[in-house]
C-alpha cells in the first residue's frame, strides 16, 4: 500500500474508532447499570436478603444494614483458612466500627461448638447461625471461606473465594467503599 492509502486507513480507523467508543460510553451514574436486576449471589446484583438467629440470640436481617457497606463472610470452625482469617476480620471490625459492618455467617454447626470457638478467638462481630445451610445455598457458597462485599445500596461489589488478609481486605475496601 502506498503511504497515502495508509494515512487514509489510519484516519478512518481513528474516526470510526472514536465514534464507536463515544456511542458506547457509560453514563455517569453506574447505579443505573444494575437497576432492575434480580437478587443473586453475583457481582452487580442485589445481595439476596435473609433472616437468621445470631449467636447472641438476636434476629439478624441483612437488609436492616442497608445504607452501610457490609462484609459478609461465610465460615466454619473445621475450616483452617477461616480460623486464620477470622482474627483479621475481628481487627477490621474494630478499626472500621460504624463505617463497615463485618458479619460472619457460620455454616451449619451446633451453636455450642460455635460459641466455644468464637469465645476462644475473642470474636465480637455479629455471627448469624446458618444452621440448616439454607443461606449458604442461597449464596451458592461452595467452598469456605467465601466473602461477599456489599455496598451501601445492597449491591454485591465483589466475591472473594478463599481467605482475606488484612492487606487484601484493605485493598478491596479501598476499591469498593472509598
Amino acid at each position: 500500500m502506498d503511504p497515502k492509502r495508509w494515512n487514509l486507513l489510519l484516519l478512518l480507523v481513528l474516526l470510526v474508532g472514536v465514534a464507536w467508543i463515544w456511542l458506547n460510553r457509560i453514563p455517569g451514574d453506574a447505579a443505573t447499570a444494575t437497576a432492575g436486576l434480580p437478587p443473586a449471589p453475583a457481582v452487580g446484583h442485589p445481595a439476596p436478603d435473609f433472616t437468621l438467629t445470631s449467636l447472641s440470640g438476636e434476629t439478624f436481617t441483612l437488609s436492616s444494614l442497608r445504607g452501610t457497606p457490609v462484609v459478609l463472610n461465610f465460615w466454619a470452625t473445621w475450616c483452617p483458612p477461616c480460623r486464620a482469617e477470622l482474627p483479621e476480620l475481628q481487627a477490621a471490625s474494630e478499626r472500621l466500627a460504624g463505617q463497615v459492618a463485618i458479619i460472619g455467617v457460620n455454616q451449619a454447626e451446633a451453636p455450642a461448638a460455635v460459641e466455644a470457638f468464637v469465645r476462644g478467638l475473642g470474636l465480637t462481630f455479629p455471627m448469624p447461625l446458618d444452621v440448616s445451610a439454607d443461606v449458604s445455598r442461597l449464596y451458592t457458597v461452595r467452598s469456605l471461606p467465601t466473602t461477599f462485599f456489599i455496598d451501601r445500596q445492597g449491591i454485591i461489589r465483589r466475591i472473594q473465594i478463599g481467605p482475606v488478609t488484612e492487606a487484601t481486605l484493605a485493598q478491596i475496601l479501598k476499591g469498593i467503599y472509598p
Partner: protein, 250 residues
C-alpha cells in the same frame, strides 16, 4: 455457570485453572511456532517462566508497598500464599521487562520472536475467555438474542465467547501470515492490531467496564490506541521492506 470444579473433596476454582491452562497454551504454541521460524522453542519457555517468576515477585512487592500498614503488623504475609495479594500492572511490566531482557541477552531476533509469541498469546486469551464464561466472570450485557446465556435469571450476551472467538480468528490470521513468510514483526503487529480492534469492537457487549474520562470504556480506548500503533508499525515495516527491495533491485 461453574465457578468451582468439584473433584470429590477437592474444590478447584475454575478461573485460576483456566489462567494456568491459558499460560501453558500460550507457551506451547509460542515454542512450536518459534521452532518453525528457526528459533529454539526452549527460549520461549525460558523467557516465559523467568517472566512469570519476575511478575509474581513484582506484583507482590507492589502490593506490599501499597498496603504497607497492613503488612507491618504481619511481615510474614509478605511471603504468604494469598492469591489475591498482588497488583496486576507492576507484575505485567516486570514480566515483560525480564522476558525482553532474556531475549536481548541471548541475542534472539526480537521481531521474529514476537511473531512466534503472538498467536500463542492470543490462543491463551481465548482459553482465558472460555474460563471466564464458565466461571461467570466479566459477563455480558442483557440481551434478547437467541444465543443469550442465562446468568442468575438474566439473559446475557456470551461476551466472553465473542472475545475468545475473535482472539482465535486473529491468532489464525497472524499464524497464516507468519508461516507464509511475512516480514519480521508483521505477524505480531497484525495480532496486536486485531486484538486491539476486537476489544474495541466487543467491549460494549460486556455488562461492566472500567471507565475513564467521564464514562469512556477503558478497554476500548486502549484497544483502539494499540490498533493504531500496530497499524502505524505495519506501515513502517512495509516501507522499510520496500526500500530494501528497491536497494536490492539497483
Amino acid at each position: 455457570m461453574f465457578p468451582i470444579i468439584q473433584l470429590g473433596p477437592l474444590s478447584l476454582p475454575t478461573y485460576p485453572l483456566a489462567l494456568l491452562l491459558a499460560g501453558w497454551v500460550a507457551l506451547e504454541v509460542g515454542a512450536r511456532v518459534a521452532q518453525r521460524l528457526g528459533i529454539d522453542g526452549d527460549h520461549v519457555y525460558n523467557a516465559g517462566l523467568y517472566g512469570l517468576v519476575a511478575g509474581i515477585v513484582a506484583a507482590r512487592f507492589a502490593h506490599v508497598i501499597a498496603y504497607w500498614p497492613a503488612y507491618r503488623a504481619q511481615p510474614l504475609e509478605i511471603f504468604g500464599f494469598n492469591t489475591s495479594a498482588f497488583l496486576l500492572w507492576p507484575g505485567v511490566i516486570a514480566a515483560l521487562a525480564v522476558a525482553g531482557w532474556y531475549a536481548y541477552r541471548r541475542r534472539l531476533p526480537m521481531a521474529r520472536l514476537l511473531d512466534a509469541c503472538a498467536p500463542g498469546a492470543l490462543a491463551g486469551v481465548a482459553v482465558a475467555g472460555i474460563g471466564a464464561l464458565l466461571a461467570g466472570r466479566a459477563y455480558g450485557a442483557p440481551t434478547d438474542l437467541p444465543w443469550a446465556v442465562d446468568l442468575w435469571g438474566v439473559a446475557r450476551h456470551p461476551s466472553q465467547a465473542y472475545e475468545a472467538l475473535a482472539a482465535l480468528i486473529v491468532a489464525g490470521l497472524a499464524l497464516r501470515m507468519i508461516l507464509q513468510g511475512s516480514r519480521p514483526g508483521a505477524g505480531a503487529l497484525v495480532a496486536l492490531a486485531g486484538y486491539g480492534l476486537s476489544r474495541w469492537l466487543l467491549e460494549p457487549f460486556r455488562a461492566e467496564s472500567a471507565t475513564i474520562l467521564g464514562g469512556l470504556r477503558l478497554a476500548q480506548v486502549l484497544g483502539l490506541a494499540a490498533a493504531l500503533v500496530a497499524l502505524w508499525g505495519l506501515r513502517a515495516v512495509g516501507r522499510r521492506a520496500g526500500e530494501a527491495g528497491a536497494a536490492a533491485a539497483e
